[in-house]
């Protein structure tokens, strides 16, 4: 089989020549030749299929370019040919580690258009599941960071304790990964018997995990040497690139959609909790904020479990859902950052247009700026501390 070389335009030719020149450039001081390092698309550090093309000068990165699209599945186009309940099934699979959190903003946007409000019991259970998916997501991110710095034990611990949370999600929704449990106007089912006490036990185990991993990993000298002072994102640069979630709170910006811009339908204002920030902005501070976020999540879940009101779990919604014409944008604080859905309806069974604002896309867009000048081993730890999911980038 022969590969056909397509005709190159003049611009492409120029780009090719400049790339070759960058490869062949010789560092006069220590006589090293430039080279191109291709990381991915299948690399454990990239959480899937991100590809990073790094131009190196010796051990230092001169320029890095992320190549995305290896996981593009066309969500926004597919959503236009699905009915509203079917879209929920689809968007579950965007950030596949914390699935329930993907459904929430879309359902809230649809409820906003239909002017329906879920009953209080449904709102509480929705918030609990939203927080539990955050815990399941971030635990894995912490364990994965251990692998990136060369320690395999944290990922075993993470998978072990994540199972307790997944068991609880499965007990109420029926799915370990993709619950598809949120409905417009409420939830599919009520809680099973004994779930509240079991969930409290699971949260206790998660807190134990946090204490364990704090001593095992965060207090480790190697971990600190690999993450302290590396991959520093200043406040203004982070905001300019549109970072959100933990990545911007790790740079000292006190901003959380759950507290500042909470959409009706979630009950974060009923609980006593804190937004954690860290002033340093390096890899360590991002991971530290993540750990505190898991702890805070377990506290939120515990408090909400105590206050769940009784009552129905489904508001009055017609069986065949037709959303009236209009536009709505709802964003929530998802495990990876701010996630929003802009839904345009023309009064049909299916949305006319759905624009998805996913957090990881912005979080990864900072990599060319961030990776410039770092050493090759630090690429891995910086990518690990940014913690993105490929489905959330490419959609």
């Amino acid at each position: 089989m022969t590969t056909q070389i397509p005709d190159l335009s003049e611009q492409e030719q120029l780009r090719y020549i400049s790339q070759q020149a960058a490869d062949a450039r010789v560092n006069v001081e220590i006589e090293t030749e430039g080279m191109t390092l291709n990381l991915g698309p299948q690399h454990p550090a990239t959480h899937g299929t991100l590809r990073i093309i790094a131009k190196l000068d010796g051990e230092q990165v001169v320029a890095a370019e992320p190549v995305m699209g290896y996981m593009h599945r066309g969500y926004e186009k597919l959503a236009e040919v699905r009915t509203y309940p079917q879209v929920t099934t689809l968007v579950n699979r965007i950030d596949w580690v914390g699935s329930f959190a993907n459904e929430t903003p879309f359902i809230l946007a649809a409820e906003k258009l239909m002017e329906v409000e879920a009953p209080p019991r449904a709102q509480y259970i929705r918030t609990i599941l939203h927080e539990m998916s955050r815990i399941a997501n971030v635990i894995l991110g912490i364990g994965d960071m251990g692998v990136q710095v060369g320690a395999v034990t944290p990922i075993f611990f993470a998978f072990r304790d994540r199972e307790y949370v997944l068991n609880q999600i499965e007990a109420v929704t029926g799915g370990r990964f993709h619950p598809n449990f949120d409905r417009i106007g409420g939830l599919k089912d009520d809680l099973p018997a004994g779930w509240i006490q079991n969930t409290k036990n699971a949260m206790e185990k998660v807190r134990d995990f946090c204490d364990q991993i704090e001593e095992l990993m965060y207090g480790n000298e190697i971990f600190q040497a690999r993450t302290r002072g590396i991959g520093i994102i200043p406040k203004d640069v982070g905001l300019a690139y549109g970072l959100s979630g933990v990545n911007i709170r790790g740079s000292g910006v006190d901003w959380d959609v759950r507290r500042d811009n909470m959409s009706p339908g979630l009950v974060y204002d009923q609980v006593d909790w804190k937004v954690w920030t860290h002033p340093d902005g390096d890899s360590y501070s991002r991971m530290w904020v993540r750990l505190q976020e898991v702890r805070e999540g377990t506290k939120i879940v515990d408090q909400l479990l105590d206050q769940i009101p009784s009552g129905p779990i489904m508001a009055k919604v017609p069986r065949i859902i037709k959303v009236p014409a209009g536009e709505a944008y709802v964003e929530t604080e998802n495990p990876l950052g701010v996630m929003g859905y802009y839904v345009v309806s023309k009064g049909d069974l299916n949305p006319y247009r759905v624009k998805i604002r996913s957090a990881s896309f912005n979080n990864v867009s900072i990599t060319p700026w961030l990776l410039k000048g770092v050493y090759v081993p630090d690429i891995i730890t910086i990518l690990g501390s940014l913690y993105f999911i490929l489905g959330d980038i490419d959609r």
Partner: protein, 167 residues
């Protein structure tokens, strides 16, 4: 006139060979999407530890692997890379297609950018359905593949029909 020339091995020797092959499968993990997490749970978690089945999920490159688990959505952009790395694996090699997306496209059956099934690119031995399949389902798929390897006649490779877990 030897055994090598006739292409046949004595049955007892073949049983021994197959048994040692089936209990030392080196798996190359091709984690693509959601199923990669369930594959990770099956391979790296204490609950579903896969090494007790004689499967080692840690080859550094496809050149050291006996088997590849394609788990997740295969897109048209990714497909050439899968084909390329499959070609780098030494024979005999086996493929497990994990999840609806790798089997047939799954929930993205009408998407413009998704390959409808990895079997369009590489031959598949075991299909594990589910979206995503539970780790137990993947373990069952591996056990079924081991059964196939045990009963395999090296002369007649690729003749058998693919296995579907749970049918």
């Amino acid at each position: 006139m030897g055994l090598v020339e006739s292409g046949k091995t004595p049955k007892s020797l073949q049983t021994l060979l197959n048994m040692s092959r089936k209990y030392s499968l080196w798996v190359y993990q091709w984690g693509l999407a959601c199923c990669a997490l369930e594959m990770g749970a099956a391979f790296a978690s204490p609950r579903y530890d896969v090494m007790r089945l004689g499967v080692i999920p840690l080859p550094a490159s496809p050149r050291q692997a006996d088997m590849v688990v394609v788990s997740g959505t295969v897109t048209d952009k990714m497909a050439p890379a899968i084909r390329r790395l499959y070609e780098q694996m030494p024979d005999p090699k086996y493929v497990i297609s994990m999840g609806s997306c790798a089997n047939c496209g799954g929930p993205y059956w009408d998407s413009y950018s998704v390959t409808k099934g990895v079997d369009q690119i590489i031959p598949v031995d075991v299909y594990v359905p589910g979206c995503p399949p539970r780790p137990e389902a993947l373990l069952e798929g591996i056990v079924m593949l081991q059964e196939r390897i045990q009963n395999e006649d090296m002369q007649e490779r690729w003749v058998g029909e693919p296995i579907v877990v749970g049918s």
